[in-house]
Structure formats: C-alpha cells, structure tokens
C-alpha cells in the first residue's frame, strides 16, 4: 500500500514538472514571400504596425491594475526564438521583438519599479510576451 502511495506521489510530482510547459500563443498568419520580397522581410515579416496600442491592449488582460500602468517602448527589432530543448530546440518563431518597460502600482497603491518585457510579433500580431530583457532561447538580430 505504501509503495502505491509512493509511486502515486512520484507520478504527481512529475506531472507538476510537465505542468510548467508555457502556453501556446495564437499562431500568427504567415505571409508567403513572393519573388520581389526582400530576403530580410521574407524571413522576419514586416515591422509591426501601431505596436504601442496593440501592446497596451494585450497587457490590459494580462497584468493586474493595467488601467494605471505606465509603458516605455523601445523600437521593434528583428529576433528569433528557439523552442525549449525538451521540444527539440528548433527555431519556432522569427519576427519582430519590442522591449517594453511596464510599471504598475502595488496593491497598496505605491508605484513600483518597472518590469521589462519582450513582446514578440509576427506580421503585426502579438505571439507571446516574455518577462525580462534577455532569454537564452531568444536571439536579437542587429
């Protein structure tokens, strides 16, 4: 009986490990490159349009007290992201990345230091947001 509980516990803990798999974002529509499309654009798509409003709308459902949030945007830059090594490590996204600093008040109303996010775009659609300024699986292209 004890060993059954032991194995059930082990399976449960392993299931929790698997539970940390990041959720899939909406899949972007991929434009088919034509003969005249420059190579850079064919690979990364066009820079995102009105990205500031899109990011604000996106975060309005993602973070607490988003209505009182302050945003500082950087310019979009090309980047690509690899899958985690557990999923093969292949490049699964190539597009435009916008660094954003978001500051929100704490639950007591004190304005907190801003948090950096990387917002990933594909053809002007937000694919995913990642907390932090860097990630080992993301390469920013200069």
């Amino acid at each position: 009986m004890n060993s059954i509980f032991k194995y059930m516990g082990a399976v449960g803990i392993s299931a929790l490990f698997v539970g940390c798999v990041p959720a899939q974002g909406p899949s972007p529509s991929i434009k088919t490159p034509t003969l005249g499309t420059p190579i850079g654009i064919a690979e990364y798509g066009y820079p995102p349009q009105s990205y500031q409003n899109k990011i604000k709308n996106y975060f309005s459902n993602k973070i607490k007290r988003a209505d009182r949030a302050n945003y500082v945007f950087s310019k979009p830059q090309k980047a690509y992201k690899r899958k985690g090594l557990a999923y093969g490590g292949d490049v699964d996204w190539k597009g435009w990345l916008v660094d954003v600093d978001v500051s929100i008040p704490s639950r007591t109303g004190r304005m907190q230091k801003s948090k950096p996010y990387m917002v990933l775009f594909k053809d002007s659609v937000i694919v995913e947001e990642i907390l932090g300024r860097t990630h080992k699986l993301i390469t920013k292209v200069k």
């Binding site: 032991k6 194995y7 516990g9 082990a10 399976v11 803990i13 392993s14 929790l16 490990f17 698997v18 539970g19 940390c20 798999v21 990041p22 607490k64 899958k83 985690g84 090594l85 557990a86 999923y87 093969g88 704490s106 639950r107 007591t108 004190r110 907190q112 230091k113 948090k115 950096p116 990642i130 907390l131 932090g132 300024r133 860097t134 990630h135 080992k136 699986l137």
Partner: protein
C-alpha cells in the same frame, strides 16, 4: 537526525510559507506558486538520497527517472512511432530507476557531501537551467523554482543540525556539524570531492539564466518595500476586506 515524515512536514510547511510570500508579493501567479511549493517540498527530501535505505532515495530516483523519461518522450514524439517511444521510455526509466540507483548507492555515503550547502546550490542552479533552457520559462520563474529547490534542501540540512542537539540529556550528538557544511576535508577523497563539487557549481553558474529579474524581484530594496507593504493590512482593518 530527523525522520522522513518530519522532513516532509517541515519541508512542506517552509515551502508553503515561502511560495505564499512570493505569491503575495506578486512575484509569481497561483499556478506557479503550486509548482514552487511542490519543488520546495521535493527539495526538502533530496539530501537523504545518499542514504541507501531511506525512502528519499526511492522517491528521488523514481521522480528523476520519470522526468527524464518524459523529456525523452517529448524530444522524440515527432519522429518515433508509438512502439519505439514505449520501448525507449521503458529502457530510459529502467536504466535510471534500477540501474543508476545501484551505482549511486555504491559511490555515495550518507552524510557525505550530499549534506552540504554547495550541493543545495547545485540543485537550485540545475533547476534554473532546466526550467529556462528545456522548458523555455522566463528567467524570473526559473530562478524562483531554483530558489524553492535550494530552500527546501537547506531547510532539511538545518533540521538535521537541530536534531543533532539532544535537549533532554543536554549534549551535542556526534552527527552535529555533518549536515550544514560548506566542505569536508577529512580524507584526500573528500578533498577531491570538494574540488569537483565547487567546479561543477561554478560551471553551472556560468551557463545559468540571467539573474537580474530575481535580484530585482526578491533581493532588492524595492522587493523589501513590497514585502513591508503587504506584511500588515495597509488600511489597518484586519480580515474584513
């Protein structure tokens, strides 16, 4: 030395306190807090995997072998057929759970370097690397999970040291000082072990994720302000919010 149940209870309590605090500070979200709690509790059982007949070695190796099996299935799921995958999973699981455990029992010694602070840190850094590089989690969450793993591990070591004081006979047991240690230099094998452990630790730190976010979110003046903000009811009203 505390027994398995005591380690489990104290480890789970300490993990609940820390993950609950991080949740209140809005460093993590509720699902991440559950994972953090589980990792802290798991970490609190890990030091005793060097004891041949403890429950921890069985649980530890079962969890690790299941984890590696799941990872290998993830990696090969798009190329292997079902039969190939089942066979591979069986081989991977058995070779770790029943093969590696035997080798580990031979080389490990209870209360050796597995009961030490650098090994607690190694477990944490490995957790951060796996979460970041294998599962693609952001650096903050990867380091929060690492913190929980090392926290649970160190709570175990502290508990072992507390249990080495015999309060009734008012004496210190022989085991005192063997759990919460930075190094062990009794024999030449111990010295070599220490060098390897610290080399592994520094090597892992070099490839670990960026620490800026965890420093700012947990170990900064801003984090301290957030903690003091939420410590007591900000409007002075208790429980009726």
């Amino acid at each position: 030395m505390a027994n398995f149940n005591t380690h489990f209870m104290v480890g789970a309590t300490a993990s609940a306190v820390l993950s609950g605090t991080l949740l209140s500070m809005e460093v993590i979200y509720p699902p991440q807090a559950v994972m953090a709690f589980a990792l802290g509790t798991f970490g609190s059982l890990m030091p005793d995997i060097d004891s041949d007949h403890s429950k921890s070695i069985g649980i530890g190796f079962t969890v690790v072998s299941l984890l590696v099996t799941i990872l290998s299935v993830f990696i090969k799921s798009s190329t292997y057929s079902l039969i190939e995958m089942w066979l591979m999973a069986g081989v991977v699981f058995s070779s770790i759970r029943f093969g590696l455990i035997g080798a580990f029992r031979k080389v490990s010694k209870h209360r050796g370097m597995f009961h030490s602070i650098p090994v607690a840190l190694i477990w944490g850094v490995v957790t951060a690397i796996v979460m970041h590089m294998f599962f693609g989690l952001n650096s903050l969450i990867s380091w929060v999970y690492a913190l929980m793993m090392s926290w649970g591990y160190i709570v175990h070591l502290i508990l072992d040291e507390i249990y080495s004081v015999d309060l009734e006979n008012r004496r210190i047991k022989k085991s005192s000082g063997t759990a919460l240690k930075f190094f062990k230099l009794k024999t030449s094998v111990d010295k070599i072990q220490n060098v390897i452990i610290y080399a592994v630790l520094f090597g892992l730190i070099i490839i670990s994720p960026d620490t800026t976010m965890i420093e700012e979110s947990v170990f900064s003046l801003e984090a301290w302000r957030t903690f003091t903000d939420i410590l007591l009811p900000y409007d002075g009203i208790w429980f009726f919010h």
